[in-house]
């Protein structure tokens, strides 16, 4: 800023000199003050901007760092130490000067001074090299030289710090206390705002609106407590009444985040340029304290989520180069300090209810592929199944953890081409593991057709599969029963869909054609009796989102896919359209999840049984709201109409007054009404084309 001001000044003076072209530059003018002149302007007033740039004593010192914890050695090994130090510290920037203090014997004192070319490099070095372990005995303590000055100025008298006032945390579960159990959803409009809506009846209402809040992304935590917004500097979490800020997590350029299932931890990932010291870093944070628990480098697969959490937040793991590493919380150390090595391991997944994980290993020359179930932390292999001719596997856990389905893509022929396997004659098996039965029996279902989508019913034991190739796309529903192989319940043939969306409460499913090729078709199916309750479409839809209670479905067209007609439509679970909202630059809509009900299973059953008793009460409420809304609308319209009538009456009066003038212009013929000019009526015969008949003449 200061610089700019100086430039402005120069500019101005340049203009002045232009105006005074006549000035003779050869002769030096007299700069001395006239006699008796009193200089009452201080330097600060005159040159405030320049004074800011005045060299300071610290200027040269700011790029100097002090490294403590350096090995103490005799003069004979000094050269070697210097080369080691240089090598380590040159990583952070160019070292221009160094100083190794020595005692009378020529031994180094265990601390050294290094000067970098710029203060920025010095700061980097402090950040990057502090606590650097040179070897077992020596850990560097790196500080800026200027810091010492700072610490020297600390007064000798200790002043007890003021206790920070206690800041009560607002009730994080306030959103669950909504008396009508209306659900919330967040809407992101690119470059504009984040809106939080409550799905009130009969019209949703906006409860919060934040502008410039996010980089076009939001995420709810799995139990709905927190809302995460993405910013350049990192992640902000919002919670409680009015969604106030809860914590901030600094991670520059953060791209992906993941919550642990119990909302204890947050995983963030940012991809930065490779030369950046924080490049490709994954950080795991404690949400309540806001502190970093551990950071990892990214290696191997970068398919998000890189870390997968066990259901109770106790363990998390990832696969890097044939090694499955499981870590435990809260120590964040490797479980038993040992990874699980298994050449060819490709993917794993935690059971949603138990500390069991399933992983699969690709086939190698003579070893078949296999799926293994592993108990954690004791590493018991509770089931292993060998599979043959495997190209790929996908692991799908049923939400209740009762069943596991492994979708196995199999081949009949394989060709090796430049280190890549080319498969042909593909078909597919579903291996169903009955987790709750003794010895975990496995059933399999074979499908000769390519699989488009697979999904378990979230509550219940059905699964649905979309299979076949366009235009012969079929949807099959299977049920798994204890001790039995899966049974085909129903097959819908020739459908236009490519995705399945189960209601979070089970039973109902939406078959949708998502994306540019999907056509946007929607079918609302009740899987109790396999009735298609409604079929409709939302052209170019890109998202289908059930609300957490399974009462509403939102279909959306996001501007990431197409630029026209972006927005979201709300449907009832039966497929009745409730609302169409077109929003320019609409990016995403996410329902706020709800935690599991606190009512026990008994209580839930009881409520379900007595549903009829509660029904009239809610029905009445709904009717009241509906009539209130329509009354409001009618009042609004009546008002508008009244205003309009008054306005029009005035206009018409004026218009009628001017009739004379109009008649003058049209030769005294009244044309105000269409039939006004009675002299001009002429009768005319008009023929209508009614029917065409072709008679063939012989």
């Amino acid at each position: 800023m200061a610089k700019k001001k100086v430039e402005d000044k120069n500019h101005q003076s340049g203009d002045n000199s232009k105006n005074e072209k006549e000035v003779n530059y050869d002769e030096e003018p007299n700069f001395s003050d006239p006699e008796g002149y009193l200089d009452n302007i201080t330097d600060e007033e005159l040159l405030a901007d320049l004074l800011k740039q005045r060299p300071k004593e610290t200027d040269g010192v700011e790029s100097v760092i002090v490294v403590d914890g350096v090995p103490q050695i005799g003069p004979e090994r000094l050269e070697k130490l210097k080369s080691v130090i240089n090598k380590t510290f040159a990583k952070m920037g160019n070292i221009v000067n160094e100083y190794y203090p020595v005692n009378e014997q020529g031994h180094t004192k265990g601390y050294i001074f290094l000067e970098y070319a710029t203060p920025a490099h010095a700061a980097d070095a402090v950040k990057g090299m502090n606590n650097y372990k040179l070897d077992k005995q020596h850990t560097f303590q790196v500080n800026l030289f200027t810091d010492f000055a700072k610490y020297e100025e600390i007064p000798d008298e200790w002043v007890p710090p003021e206790p920070r006032p206690y800041q009560g945390q607002s009730d994080l579960y306030q959103f669950l206390l909504e008396p009508d159990a209306y659900d919330m959803f967040g809407v992101v409009v690119q470059d504009k705002d984040v809106q939080i809506w409550q799905n009130t009846q009969p019209e949703p209402s906006m409860i919060e609106k934040r502008e410039n809040c996010t980089q076009c992304l939001i995420k709810w935590s799995p139990l709905g407590t927190f809302l995460a917004t993405f910013h350049h500097q990192g992640i902000a979490l919002w919670a409680g009444a009015g969604l106030t800020q809860y914590k901030k997590f600094l991670h520059v350029n953060v791209q992906f985040i993941d919550f642990s299932p119990c909302e204890k931890y947050l995983v963030t990932y940012a991809s930065l340029p490779i030369d950046h010291p924080d490049s490709n870093k994954i950080i795991i944070w404690d949400i309540r304290t806001g502190l970093e628990k551990r950071s990892f480098n990214t290696e191997g697969s970068t398919i998000w989520p890189i870390f997968k959490w066990s259901h109770d937040d106790r363990y998390f793991g990832r696969i890097v180069n044939d090694v499955l590493s499981v870590y435990e919380t809260p120590s964040f150390g490797l479980l038993d300090k040992k990874s699980i090595k298994n050449p060819g391991i490709r993917d794993f997944s935690w059971s949603p209810t138990d500390n069991v994980l399933a992983y699969w290993v690709a086939e190698d020359d003579n070893v078949p592929a296999s799926v293994t179930l592993l108990e954690i932390p004791n590493r018991n292999e509770i089931r292993k199944k060998n599979l043959f001719n495997v190209a790929d596997c996908k692991i799908h856990w049923q939400k209740a953890g009762d069943y596991l389905c492994v979708k196995v893509d199999r081949y009949t022929k394989v060709k090796k081409e430049r280190n890549e396997n080319k498969y042909s004659g593909m078909y597919c098996n579903f291996e169903i593991f009955h987790m709750r039965e003794k010895e975990i029996p496995v059933d399999s279902v074979e499908s000769k057709e390519p699989i488009q989508a697979f999904a378990w019913e979230p509550v219940g034991n059905k699964f649905a599969v979309i299979h076949g190739e366009s235009p012969n796309i079929n949807v099959s529903f299977y049920e798994v029963r204890v001790g039995q192989a899966p049974v085909l319940l129903k097959k819908f043939e020739k459908r236009a869909c490519n995705h399945l969306f189960w209601s979070p409460r089970g039973q109902f499913v939406v078959l949708a054609g998502v994306g540019a090729t999907g056509g946007g078709s929607l079918e609302f199916v009740d899987t109790h009796d396999f009735l298609v309750m409604n079929a409709n479409d939302h052209f170019q839809l890109s998202e289908v989102e059930w609300d957490p209670t399974g009462r509403y479905v939102v279909t959306a067209v996001s501007q990431w896919k197409t630029k026209v007609d972006t927005g979201y439509w709300m449907w009832s679970f039966q497929g009745r359209i409730l609302k169409r909202v077109n929003v320019d630059k609409f990016a995403m809509l996410l329902w706020r999840p709800r935690p599991q009900s606190l009512l026990g299973e008994e209580k839930q059953k009881e409520t379900k049984k007595n549903l009829k008793r509660y029904y009239p009460q809610f029905e009445g409420k709904d009717r009241m709201r509906q009539s209130k809304a329509s009354k409001e609308l009618i009042e609004k319209r009546a008002n508008l109409m009244k205003k309009w009538k008054d306005f029009r009456d005035e206009q018409i009066e004026k218009y009628n007054k001017l009739k004379g003038k109009r008649l003058l212009l049209r030769n005294d013929i009244d044309t105000d009404d269409i039939d006004g000019d009675t002299n001009n009526v002429e009768e005319e015969v008009v023929e209508f084309f009614i029917k065409e008949e072709i008679t063939v003449l012989e």
Binding site: I634, Q651, Y655, R662, V686
Partner: protein, 328 residues
């Protein structure tokens, strides 16, 4: 009722207009021949042959004796309605975008595009006697539009011949004093090109159709904005029902963008809004290209739309339309 499909044009319809009684429907198109039809049965009465390029605009006087048209061949022509013969031809320096008869039919106005270093201009001529000498006659009024303002894309003339209103390419609306030949008021409620402006029955309100996806209703006396009708597509034309508080909007995705998207995206429906409540209550499908011009029959019992697909569709309203009432 099944609409009448008037298929006589070979290219996109640019404007349609009923005569005062509503028994005839005139249409202009990008082919060179304006047409006239019986509005009752859709029979074509004849064509007006002579233009050498696209015809952008037409108007018929209140006695249905003369038709005027302007086109891309830089000409403004006057026709005899009964014979279909050209009786006058005025050469312009650039294409003629709009044309209009005055209330009395004694004068006609036309405006030209800005092209080839010629400014956009407004001309008013005397058309009481029309013969071949009219091409040399001096216009009564000639207003060049300064280059700082954008070209005129639609005009309206009030029923006392005192003022006229111009809609512009940048969405501005100017009100002019005719006798003084001066602009008296300007507003800018639209952000993009105004495609069309139409009067209500008594000439106290007018509706504008703009490329900015809206149509708006204005008070003609002071240009105050009364109502706004929002859609998701450019609006090419809008008309006010002479008997109900209804307006109809026609439009759709730009012709040049349609080829890249499916017709479903285009939204080529006529859309009916309640004039006061600004609520949409009906749509009429049919065109397979954008609608370029809509017009109500003067008796309010039917309406017509002309589309980029070259068809004019005459829709007679079914009984439910007349019975339909908004609750208030």
């Amino acid at each position: 009722m099944k609409p009448l499909m008037l298929h006589g044009h070979e290219r996109a319809i640019t404007q349609i207009k009923y005569n005062r009684e509503g028994d005839l429907l005139f249409s202009s198109s990008k082919d060179n021949k304006p047409n006239v039809w019986y509005s009752l049965n859709g029979e074509r009465l004849g064509t007006f042959n002579g233009h050498q390029g696209a015809v952008w605009c037409i108007d018929v006087d209140w006695t249905t004796s003369r038709l005027i048209s302007g086109g891309g061949d830089n000409s403004f022509r006057i026709w005899d309605c009964e014979t279909g013969k050209e009786i006058g031809n005025i050469e312009a320096k650039s294409s003629v975008r709009t044309c209009l008869f005055s209330y009395s039919g004694n004068m006609a106005m036309y405006t030209t595009d800005r092209a080839m270093r010629n400014n956009c201009e407004i001309f008013v001529i005397d058309v009481r006697t029309v013969d071949s000498s009219i091409s040399q006659a001096q216009p009564i009024l000639r207003i060049p539009i300064e280059s700082s303002d954008t070209r005129v894309s639609s005009v309206l003339w009030d029923n006392l011949e005192d003022t006229f209103i111009t809609g512009h390419e940048d969405g501005a609306i100017f009100q002019w004093d005719f006798k003084a030949g001066k602009m008296v008021k300007s507003i800018k409620e639209h952000s993009l090109l105004i495609n069309d402006m139409q009067w209500n029955k008594d000439g106290t309100l007018f509706i504008t159709a703009s490329k900015d996806n809206t149509a708006k209703l204005f008070d003609a006396s002071d240009l105050s904005l009364l109502k706004t009708y929002k859609t998701e597509r450019p609006v090419n034309s809008a008309a006010i029902s002479p008997i109900f508080d209804h307006v109809v909007l026609g439009g759709g995705q730009d012709a040049m963008d349609v080829t890249t998207t499916s017709t479903r995206v285009g939204k080529f429906d006529s859309r009916f809004f309640h004039m006061v409540f600004e609520e949409e209550f009906g749509r009429v499908k049919g065109h397979f290209g954008p609608i370029n011009s809509v017009a109500f029959h003067p008796d309010g019992k039917s309406y017509s739309s002309g589309g980029e697909d070259g068809y004019v569709r005459v829709h007679n309203f079914d009984p439910p339309y007349f019975e339909y009432n908004f609750d208030y």
